[in-house]
Subunit: 182 residues, 2 copies
């Protein structure tokens, strides 16, 4: 896969990137990936995330429940990659959305390849046409009393309220053909 | 201005909308607007915001300092509109970024028109080609110890840490010609 690096704020200039992120995330999910204590890359499917611009920095904000293996990983590394899988590999998000990295080496079981990052410790997934390298610059937790009952009962019946990670985008790696198509 | 309404999640399908939001916000700023206690619409310029998908809802997240007049407005109404000004009206964001609604009726001084919202109490700004109606479904505050010193010293020398509002997008009103151009 021939890749090109975009400057952190440059990706916002590519309509196709923003659209692809928003559409794919809300439709089938995308992947965040972070290193675990054993140095293994652990991908997890997310269907939620918000991105844009805060503190004059490009920011990708994700929510992770403390019960997730990914939570331990990000707490330790302080960084993560956001990976948008190829259109024909929906199996990746299906698998990574149901299996825990505590019991499985998801990268090896899916025969996926780590791609070392340029700015952070956690690698990306080489098979993914879009990879954002994100360094956590802020975190806060969902505040239960500030949620409507409808959200609380639907998404937090057992508590396990999300931690909100604000990741500063330090590099964006994109498959060249993806930009050319757009 | 001929307008059309998009379903809350439909706007993500329009690359031009996501791009326009990201680019315009980071380059010159956009406007949030909310009603004050006197029922006056108060627009404020923001250069920061993140948007996407959380709790299976389209979410627009903004940061507002407690010292701002807009803070009082949103605390009271629990809603706000996000307005993207026309390309030739940069004067609006310049004005609304420097003047406080405590001392000025910005809408009238700028000769702008309120556009009643379909789902929330705060109107939009009729002259803006893109308007998001947002209902606050969650809020939390920036946590000072969880910020790097560089951000703390640059953006919070006097404290005044932002409140983070998560607004569920309930309606998107777009100038028809804007979609056609794209």
């Amino acid at each position: 896969m021939a890749r090109t690096e975009l400057k952190p704020n440059e990706w916002m200039e590519f309509p196709i990137l923003a659209r692809q992120m928003h559409a794919q995330m809300s439709h089938e999910g995308i992947l965040i990936a972070s290193l675990d204590a054993a140095g293994r890359l652990n991908p997890m499917t997310i269907g939620w995330g918000v991105f844009g611009w805060i503190w004059n920095r490009p920011i990708f904000t994700i929510l992770v429940r403390p019960s997730r293996y990914t939570y331990d990983c990000i707490e330790a590394t302080g960084d993560f990659t956001v990976n948008v899988q190829p259109a024909d590999r929906r199996d990746i998000v299906d698998f990574c959305g149901t299996i825990s990295g505590r019991d499985h080496d998801k990268m090896s079981e899916l025969e996926l390849t780590s791609l070392p990052s340029t700015h952070i410790s956690s690698p990306g997934i080489a098979e993914c046409p879009i990879i954002f390298e994100c360094n956590v610059v802020h975190l806060t937790d969902v505040v239960p009393p500030e949620l409507p009952e409808s959200i609380k009962s639907e998404y937090y019946p057992q508590g396990d309220f999300h931690r909100i990670y604000f990741g500063q985008v330090l590099n964006v790696s994109v498959e060249k053909s993806f930009l050319e198509e757009s």
